[in-house]
């Protein structure tokens, strides 16, 4: 009687192109043990036949598709597994496969056909929309979400025919505000300027990486079909053979894609032998053509796009080499922030953004196909422990269910009363992510609002740190300007006045903004202190009248913020009020701040909260005879600068990370 748990496959030979292969990872799929072949390509594999699934031996070599053999008792003598080196050349003739969707997965040619749960997660993620995202296209083409000629022209835009994203058609769009296509084209006098695109800005290399044909340097308008509809999809990520962090981001460089070349006429496999890179050593299914790569468990894969340091893209513009010696600007540094932070040692991006999925026991959804109970095979894969399969939800700040923003920051408030003043110290603390807060696209920023109240009555801010222009302003005027004239003013708007003493905040930011390279002045955050504010009661011919005397100061912000905000409300201009803001502030060649990344020629400041970091600011409020004052603060996240979002007519809801109130 054979002990089913005591079977050993002795002397299994693994060859690569007919020669014994050393260091090949051999295992019984469905079980944890792994074994390596010796210099003669030989390995001994303990096997367990007391399992409810097919017993196989698989062999995994980095230059070959994973191979395997089904084994039975008694184990045949001279068992061997022959692997073949895959063609090392990328194949431009290969068409990326359709990931399918939860509503379109009838064909085995669609990933969703078997990988149901993963596909559902991915389909709901921002990765799936990366190439079709309207905001991305507005920034690429220079369009705005304005859909009538009259409204476009009133807003100062140009109503013109241009390409309709994802199609071969032309259609009317409102060209207004920044756009990669015309901003990077010195010949362009008026957008769209898309025939041909002078410089696509590298957008598609990450946003539409699945454009068939040549990799890199493609225009976003070239995305059609799957490349447009599915964005960053299965067959793109799982074609990443290697990651070279020294190259520029995207499929043109950092992400080395490898599309298969070997033709096949086998039914169901397509024109070329499948080739898929993934995290596992035990997937011998020829339908997948799997090759194991460790980067699927590492942050480096994510760094393929979530790290972007480059020279200014605007033609003819150089950075200030004294400030940026390499000539490159740190536009997105999420990977670097993580690597240099406390989680950079052992908590990769996948830990938070691709959490384990206890619902599935194999990425091919064994349980849905009712093959797990008593089974597990070449076709269906073998069971993995719960958690071994990662969700492909790519949760982030816009994934409401994951509450990533709410988990990322904390607020501490200390308050004291001195004479007729309340003095509040507000500390915003980064407590969660491995990277900065916010991170990624530099348009993202945080706004800290600090307030005091007496029952339902708001107490007046009288001093302390003010929200800088990052908080948004409908208009800004200096001390030499007429603060009663505001062409943009409406009843209910406010004019907030700040002092700007001639010195700069000494904060700890990212890179040269935090490592001692830059002086406080070079770190670029000019001190601004609250003086006071007035509300506009009436506007006649652009001249405003107020609910009180205009305070004196160095700068006036016209805003529509009311001092507090509820979660999900459209972001309002909030500069000049009691609070602060956290952002990487981009600057263009004309000195404009908070510009789209492709226009940036400098980073003026970067005070984003880094892992473990905190920022404490002080704020003053009038006590106004209040006997039971309360102090409060709210830290919010915005995707876009208020001014740009309003120009482009983008929805820009403000998300509350944390808010707190306490009695004094």
């Amino acid at each position: 009687m054979v002990d089913p748990q005591g079977v050993v496959a002795q002397g299994v030979l693994v060859t690569l192109d007919g020669e014994p292969a050393q260091g090949v990872v051999v295992r019984q799929p469905g079980l944890p043990g792994t074994y390596l072949t010796d210099a003669h390509g030989m390995v001994t594999v303990p096997l367990d036949f007391d399992v409810t699934f097919e017993v196989w031996i698989t062999a995994s070599h980095p230059q070959a598709r994973i191979g395997g053999r089904r084994v039975r008792v008694p184990i045949e003598e001279g068992l061997s597994i022959a692997l073949s080196t895959y063609d090392p050349a990328d194949n431009e003739a290969y068409d990326f496969h359709d990931p399918g969707t939860p509503f379109r997965r009838d064909s085995t040619d669609q990933c969703a056909h078997c990988h149901v749960t993963l596909n559902e997660d991915w389909h709901a993620s921002v990765h799936a929309g990366s190439a079709s995202n309207e905001t991305v296209h507005d920034l690429y083409a220079g369009t705005a979400a304005i859909f009538s000629r009259l409204a476009c022209e009133r807003a100062g835009g140009r109503w013109a025919m241009g390409p309709l994203p994802g199609t071969d058609a032309q259609g009317a769009s409102c060209y207004l505000g920044p756009g990669v296509v015309h901003d990077l084209d010195p010949r362009c006098d008026a957008p769209p300027c898309d025939a041909p695109v002078a410089d696509p800005g590298g957008c598609a290399d990450c946003h539409a990486p699945g454009i068939d044909g040549a990799l890199g340097g493609r225009g976003l308008h070239e995305a059609r079909g799957i490349a447009f509809e599915a964005g960053v999809h299965c067959d793109v990520c799982h074609k990443v053979e290697a990651v070279d962090l020294d190259e520029p981001p995207g499929v043109a460089g950092r992400l080395r894609l490898h599309r298969p070349s070997e033709p096949t006429t086998a039914p169901g496999l397509g024109d070329f032998l499948p080739l898929t890179f993934g995290p596992h050593h035990d997937v011998p299914n020829p339908r997948m053509g799997s090759v194991q790569r460790e980067h699927f468990r590492q942050a480096t894969l994510c760094a393929g796009c979530h790290e972007d340091v480059h020279a200014p893209r605007v033609p003819g513009v150089e950075v200030d080499r004294a400030r940026w010696p390499s000539g490159a600007l740190p536009i997105q540094t999420t990977y670097s922030e993580w690597r240099e932070g406390p989680l950079g040692e052992g908590v990769p991006c996948q830990s938070c953004h691709m959490p384990p999925d206890p619902r599935v026991t194999n990425s091919a959804d064994l349980q849905l196909f009712q093959v797990f109970e008593g089974e597990g095979s070449l076709a269906s894969g073998w069971p993995r422990p719960p958690g071994a399969v990662r969700r492909h939800s790519f949760v982030g700040p816009r994934s409401a269910d994951a509450r990533m923003l709410e988990l990322s920051a904390a607020l501490e408030l200390q308050g004291t009363v001195h004479d007729d003043q309340i003095v509040v110290q507000a500390t915003a603390r980064h407590v969660g992510p491995g990277h900065g807060l916010p991170t990624g696209e530099p348009m993202r920023h945080l706004v800290l609002r600090v307030a005091a109240r007496c029952g339902e009555r708001a107490l007046r801010a009288t001093g302390g740190t003010a929200i800088p222009d990052t908080g948004g302003a409908l208009a800004i005027k200096g001390s030499e300007d007429d603060w009663e004239r505001w062409s943009e003013a409406q009843v209910g708007h406010r004019v907030r006045v700040v002092q700007r003493p001639d010195h700069y905040l000494d904060y700890q930011g990212w890179g040269p903004f935090g490592d001692g390279t830059f002086s406080p002045e070079q770190r670029g955050l000019r001190v601004e202190r609250v003086v006071g504010e007035v509300a506009i009661l009436e506007v006649i011919d652009g001249v405003a009248s107020f609910d009180g005397p205009l305070p004196e100061g160095d700068r006036a912000y016209l805003v529509d913020d009311e001092g507090w905000i509820e979660d999900g409300v459209e972001a309002r201009a909030a500069a000049g009020g009691p609070g602060f803001a956290f952002a990487r502030v981009t600057v263009d060649a004309h000195g404009n701040r908070h510009v789209a990344a492709h226009r940036a020629v400098d980073i003026a400041s970067d005070n984003r909260l880094m892992p473990g970091g905190a920022s404490t600011t002080t704020h003053h409020f009038a006590l106004d005879d209040c006997v039971d004052p309360q102090i409060g603060a709210a830290l919010t996240w915005r995707a876009y600068p208020v001014e740009l979002a309003r120009q482009k007519r983008w929805s820009n809801p403000e998300r509350v990370l944390v808010q707190t109130w306490r009695s004094l």
């Binding site: 079980l31 944890p32 043990g33 792994t34 074994y35 050593h281 468990r297 932070g341 406390p342 989680l343 040692e345 052992g346 908590v347 990769p348 996948q350 830990s351 938070c352 959490p355 384990p356 999925d357 206890p358 619902r359 599935v360 026991t361 349980q367 849905l368 009712q370 797990f372 109970e373 069971p383 993995r384 422990p385 719960p386 958690g387 071994a388 949760v395 269910d401 994951a402 509450r403 990533m404 709410e406 988990l407 990322s408 904390a410 607020l411 501490e412 408030l413 603390r429 407590v431 969660g432 992510p433 491995g434 892992p611 473990g612 707190t660 109130w661 306490r662």
Partner: protein
């Protein structure tokens, strides 16, 4: 014979069929094929060496290597007084518990009194105190002014020592509580062989086996028509146990009677306790739902943990008059004093709190008797039972939702991406451990210190855990 054992992830990690959010009668239920099924016994109580002293319970515990059986398999482990689970320590509220630990192991060890508000120097944690060396003894002594089910285990090389069998129950009786016919301690543990060839991304355990007092799928014999009170303790290193049974009422948790009873099921994460009441007209099966610490209920077989079997079928008795307080949750002041963010990843087994790995940590401090609001946020790839030494705390809310009744615990599960708000009255001075009670997570760094009262709260050297 196994050379070593590890508490595996059992129900937490056992992959199997099934889908949906809750188990049903169609779930595959696994049970032991051993015949006859083992009988469940409460772990033997430690003899009181001072029986004539009404104010004191005096016990001696010797930690030593021990050969024993788990579910029919021989184990070379460690034990207190040569029994696994160790002797149950039973006393009445207000008594002094005096335990002399003799270390007959080859390693240092301690005893931690999980859930009891002991003086810091009696806590068994080695952040600032030395462990008991091999061949040496130490006497722990403290007044117990709590009621309920607690447990004791080492707090030195904790995952390994608990794994090997060093743990036992503490039952603190309240003379005012109604008596029941059957009062049983049921300590859950999970066992799986160490497999150092494992490359399943840091996950382990593929052959689940959850035992009750070392027995798999036992029968608890009961008098006919009786009321049974089962005191559950999850002593597993990793395994979560979703316990349910027809007609089961959860009457008590970590810190004695609940504010209100709960019916049907209870999730018991490592370190947690629960007391369940069973009104036995006929036999009842107590089942364990498969639960993954990577995000909740998971596909897998439902395990029969225990059958409670009266000697004959009768009409079910009435429930005794438990003195549930019915108290609502304390209103949340909506301010926060301390934030603990749980971070880490099962692929790398790198576990931290606030970006720090024990012992390279920055202790938080609270003034003695301060009332503090703690936020515990989970940004890691695993659920974590959050445990604080020396104190209990109230759960004010989970993701902003307050519990229906006041909930006082010393260990609380934090689900993926969940944020808990806890109210703590810091009334016990010391440098208290704060950690995940998945013991490998704690050993790998998910542990920190909360200093209460005047320090120092940091040792001269970071001597260990």
């Amino acid at each position: 014979m196994r050379s070593a054992l590890m508490l595996g992830c059992l129900l937490a990690c056992g992959p199997d069929a099934g889908e949906g959010e809750s188990a049903s009668s169609t779930d595959r239920i696994v049970s032991s094929d051993a015949e006859p099924r083992p009988r469940l016994r409460s772990p033997a109580e430690a003899p009181d060496l001072a029986p004539d002293d009404p104010e004191r319970v005096q016990v001696e515990l010797t930690a030593a290597p021990h050969s024993f059986e788990v579910a029919g398999q021989a184990v070379e482990g460690w034990a207190y007084n040569a029994q696994v689970p160790g002797p149950t320590l039973r006393l009445t509220r207000g008594q002094i518990l005096e335990v002399t630990l003799h270390n007959a192991l080859t390693d240092p060890t301690t005893i931690h009194w999980h859930g009891l508000h002991v003086p810091f120097e009696m806590d068994g944690a080695t952040w600032m105190h030395d462990p008991v060396q091999p061949g040496q003894s130490f006497t722990y002594s403290f007044i117990v002014d709590q009621v309920g089910t607690f447990w004791y285990h080492p707090h030195f090389d904790t995952a390994r020592q608990v794994d090997l069998g060093l743990y036992g129950a503490i039952v603190v009786d309240d003379p005012d509580e109604p008596e029941v016919d059957l009062d049983v301690v049921a300590i859950l543990d999970a066992w799986a062989e160490i497999d150092d060839r494992d490359d399943h991304h840091g996950l382990d355990g593929t052959s689940p086996l959850l035992t009750v007092n070392g027995a798999r799928d036992p029968i608890l014999e009961a008098p006919p028509g009786s009321v049974a009170r089962i005191r559950w303790i999850n002593a597993a290193n990793l395994a979560y146990a979703g316990i349910r049974s027809e007609g089961m009422t959860v009457i008590a948790g970590d810190q004695g009677l609940l504010a209100a009873p709960r019916h049907g099921e209870v999730l018991l994460t490592p370190g947690e306790r629960a007391e369940t009441e069973h009104l036995l007209g006929e036999a009842v099966e107590i089942l364990g739902d498969p639960w993954s610490l990577y995000g909740g209920r998971t596909p897998g077989p439902v395990q029969r943990l225990l059958t409670v079997e009266p000697s004959e079928v009768r009409e079910a008795p009435q429930s005794p008059a438990w003195a549930f307080s019915g108290l609502p949750p304390t209103p949340d002041p909506l301010s926060t004093d301390l934030v603990y963010v749980l971070q880490g990843d099962p692929m790398t087994q790198d576990w931290r709190i606030n970006g720090e790995r024990f012992p390279d940590i920055t202790p938080f401090h609270l003034d003695l008797d301060a009332e503090a609001i703690l936020e515990v946020r989970n940004l890691s790839g695993s659920e974590h039972p959050f445990h604080l030494h020396g104190h209990a705390f109230e759960v004010l809310s989970r993701d902003g939702v307050a519990p229906p009744y006041r909930e006082i615990v010393d260990t609380v599960n934090v689900r993926l991406f969940e944020s808990l708000r806890l109210r703590l009255v810091a009334d016990n001075p010391g440098s208290w451990m704060v950690h995940c009670h998945i013991l490998p997570h704690a050993d790998q760094g998910m542990m920190t210190i909360l200093g209460v009262g005047d320090g120092p709260h940091e040792p001269h050297d970071h001597r260990g855990r």
